[in-house]
């Protein structure tokens, strides 16, 4: 009996609901924590990034215009589909981060549950963060939170799955769309997550995942005039300042971050949701 030869997967980018290679033709070898070869991940270029922003902008109208209930069900569906791929994620997280089985399982479970947490937020944000304003006049005035638009995310470099989910899910829960640059050295769980997103009723373009170097892509993302907000978690401390400065050119919102990559197992609050919301105040006269 000959042993069956496995079919190795090509890890590609995820842009506009499709899985292209990098237009640059570049790839980068990915190794496990102990140095074994895992795959050649596509190495995204400036043009790939710009294509991803176009896709995210194109998807924004539909995603932000969907009912909050609908978005909640879609995010919950992501958790359902991820649960079905639990073993695959455990294996990939182990390869990427060198965790013991039980730690990797715990990380994956927490990542799945994080989608559930954010799924529940979509139709509650307006009730928790919005208001009717008791203005001193015959007007009905109310304030609703609305999604800011396209969010550029440099995903955490260390936590390849839980960290990624923790920064991505709140973007989607608010109704924003995302361009994500994965961990440079540990990109494979991000692409597998993209496969989950592609099969979970998340419309194409709502999430775009680029594997590559945050250091290379960060400046293009930060200075892109069609990006409304930035999460620079995956940038190193020195580059963050430079990127934040570039963002100022188009008054792009920059998420406030702790200096070091946080412990992603800690239950999140709502800071990341608030960061991607704009308050809109509406006035209407009252009277006969």
């Amino acid at each position: 009996m000959t042993e069956r030869v496995g079919v190795a997967k090509t890890y590609k980018l995820y842009i506009g609901g499709k899985f292209p290679r990098s237009e640059s033709g570049r790839s980068c070898p990915v190794t496990s924590h102990d140095g074994a070869f895992l795959a050649n991940a596509a190495q995204a270029s400036r043009k790939d990034l710009r294509d991803a922003v176009v896709a995210a902008r194109g998807a924004f109208g539909g995603w932000s215009g969907a009912t909050a209930y609908n978005r909640g069900q879609v995010l919950y569906r992501v958790a359902e589909v991820m649960e079905g791929r639990r073993q695959q994620f455990v294996a990939e997280v182990r390869d990427a981060e060198g965790l013991a089985v039980d730690s990797a399982e715990s990380v994956v479970d927490t990542a799945i549950d994080r989608w559930v947490w954010y799924a529940g937020w979509t139709d509650k944000l307006a009730a928790v963060l919005g208001a009717t304003n008791p203005v001193a006049g015959p007007y009905f005035s109310f304030t609703v939170p609305e999604p800011t638009g396209v969010v550029g995310v440099l995903a955490p470099q260390r936590s390849s799955l839980l960290g990624l989910v923790s920064v991505l899910a709140p973007v989607l829960a608010t109704g924003c769309t995302a361009v994500v640059v994965s961990s440079a050295a540990r990109p494979l769980p991000a692409i597998t997550l993209a496969e989950v997103l592609a099969t979970s009723d998340v419309p194409g373009g709502v999430v775009n995942v680029l594997t590559g170097q945050a250091a290379e892509l960060g400046p293009w993302l930060a200075s892109h005039a069609d990006v409304n907000a930035l999460d620079l978690t995956g940038a190193d401390a020195e580059q963050r300042v430079e990127l934040a400065r570039a963002a100022a050119e188009t008054v792009t919102r920059v998420l406030r971050l702790p200096e070091r990559e946080p412990d992603w197992t800690t239950p999140p609050g709502i800071a990341r949701l608030r960061a991607y919301l704009e308050d809109k105040t509406v006035w209407h006269p009252m009277g006969v």
Binding site: Y69, G72, K124, P285
Partner: protein, 484 residues
């Protein structure tokens, strides 16, 4: 083109087998289906008057067992469980209702008599939505504005009506479970079946035993449940008469209470309203669910200058409504839920004629078998008449006129009820002015009968107190930091 039929509708009946009706149903206590000690009841298909199924009911000792099971589940499993885990159980319930939606819709229409298009498009999807919405709250209660760490109350005793059987169950059970309470629920005597299928769904979701208990029976069971010393919280939806009894009974006790009672909503049409749109809203407001709706727009208040136009268009529109087999997908108005309710509607309609209002009833064909009542519109109605004051809970509309805005507000508020109201005008500022003056818990403007788990629902005055849905709905099942 009045009276001229452009085309006929071929019958499009839903297959009753989809409902998987069983001959015999059992109470659900502590995770198990077992026969209760009460006299079995027979639930009818109101469209035929024939027996649909037999249901075992509970005795007072069964209620004791259910309350004990709920207490045990509350203390050992459900309230200590982290919200993130509780949430996932409630999400499962939402998903299972979605998966079994068609079965539940057909069963609801068979047991209740409502048109399949309503059970299919409103009752069941909205029930699933309630579970989905509340599931998301289970691990976010600290954000609800009810204190940093609000706590569940304990065992909730819940009694629901027959007009929206599964949906009312969802309004009751979803917030109770999400907030960490356990439940003993009594479905209505004439519509117990979907609640017992929901019990099966609890098993499929592997909900811990005792978290949800379903105790079928009549008013006596409801009475036993709401006055049970092991119950921490009573939630009742039903008539104002029974609501008052329960409030009286619980007066002075520590048991918390929310009541969602009757209504006599004013649907106010101004002369600048988009009349065609208003006609649709008026029809929906009073003929949706055969008018078996506590928030039904049963009093139409029309500005005098447009009353002729409104009445003419309304009658023409109502004539097109098809009354008949609830399982037919083309049916607009199904069966009245019970012979008793039909008798009540007939009695009130007779009083309207006796007191001098002008009756118009749609000439549509009405089935000979079963409990049906053709859509009816009364004009020349005086505020003193019973049909203007009492809740008919049937497809009967009373039309009155007004001249000024102030008069409209006064007429709308001249009722002991205060559940809902409708406003039809193209002027936004007038809508907002009016909403601040209407003494009602829900006001619909240029629409009617909208329900969403994110939007609180409940009444002013004798329509009850407490809200269901939204953040306010959670308050009914939680004690905040500053509560005693």
């Amino acid at each position: 083109m009045k009276g001229e039929t452009v085309f006929d509708y071929a019958p499009a009946p839903e297959n009753p087998d989809i409902a998987r009706v069983k001959q015999h149903y059992q109470p659900f206590i502590d995770g198990e289906f077992t026969d209760g000690g009460g006299e079995p009841l027979k639930t009818l298909n109101p469209a035929t008057g024939e027996v649909l199924a037999e249901v075992s009911t509970v005795s007072s000792s069964d209620v004791d067992n259910a309350v004990s099971a709920a207490r045990e589940a509350f203390e050992r499993v459900w309230s200590p469980m982290p919200g993130t885990e509780r949430a996932k159980y409630v999400f499962r319930l939402a998903r299972l209702i979605q998966e079994r939606a068609r079965e539940l819709a057909v069963l609801e229409s068979l047991d209740n008599g409502k048109p399949i298009k309503e059970s299919r498009d409103t009752d069941i999807p909205t029930a699933a939505a309630h579970f989905f919405y509340h599931a998301g709250w289970a691990d976010k209660l600290g954000y609800a504005g009810l204190g940093r760490d609000p706590k569940p109350l304990g065992v909730a005793g819940q009694v629901i009506p027959w007009n929206f059987p599964l949906l009312m169950l969802a309004w009751k059970i979803a917030p109770a479970l999400a907030t960490g309470n356990t439940v003993v629920l009594k479905p209505a005597e004439t519509t117990p079946l979907t609640a017992l299928v929901f019990a099966e769904i609890c098993q499929q979701a592997e909900l811990p035993p005792g978290v949800v208990n379903i105790v079928p029976g009549g008013g006596d069971v409801g009475q036993t449940l709401v006055s049970h010393p092991g119950v921490d919280k009573v939630a009742f939806t039903g008539s104002t008469e029974v609501g008052k009894q329960i409030q009286r009974q619980l007066a002075g006790s520590r048991t918390r209470l929310t009541l969602e009672l009757g209504g006599k909503a004013a649907n106010i049409v101004f002369d600048d309203a988009a009349i065609d749109q208003a006609i649709e809203g008026i029809v929906n407001g009073i003929f949706f669910n055969q008018g078996h709706v506590c928030c039904a727009g049963s009093r139409l208040l029309v500005q005098e200058s447009v009353v002729d136009e409104v009445l003419t268009n309304l009658r023409a529109r109502v004539e097109t409504l098809r009354i008949g087999d609830p399982l037919d997908k083309n049916t607009d108005i199904g069966a009245i839920n019970s012979a008793e309710q039909l008798a009540k509607i007939r009695e009130l309609v007779a009083s309207g004629e006796g007191e001098g209002a002008s009756r118009w009833t749609s000439p549509c064909p009405v089935p000979e078998r079963g409990f049906f009542f053709a859509p009816t519109v009364f004009s020349d109605v005086e505020s003193s008449m019973r049909i203007a004051r009492e809740e008919i809970f049937g497809p009967v509309l009373s039309v009155q006129t007004f001249r000024t805005l102030d008069e409209a507000v006064t007429m709308a508020n001249t009722t002991p009820y205060g559940l809902s109201a409708g406003v039809w005008t193209e002027k936004g500022s007038r809508i907002l002015w009016l909403t601040s003056r209407l003494r009602a818990g829900v006001v619909w403007a240029n629409t009617f009968n909208r329900f969403d788990p994110a939007a609180p629902f409940g009444g002013y005055k004798e329509s009850g107190f407490g809200r269901e849905g939204g953040r306010s709905g959670l308050a009914a099942y939680l004690q905040g930091d500053d509560d005693d």
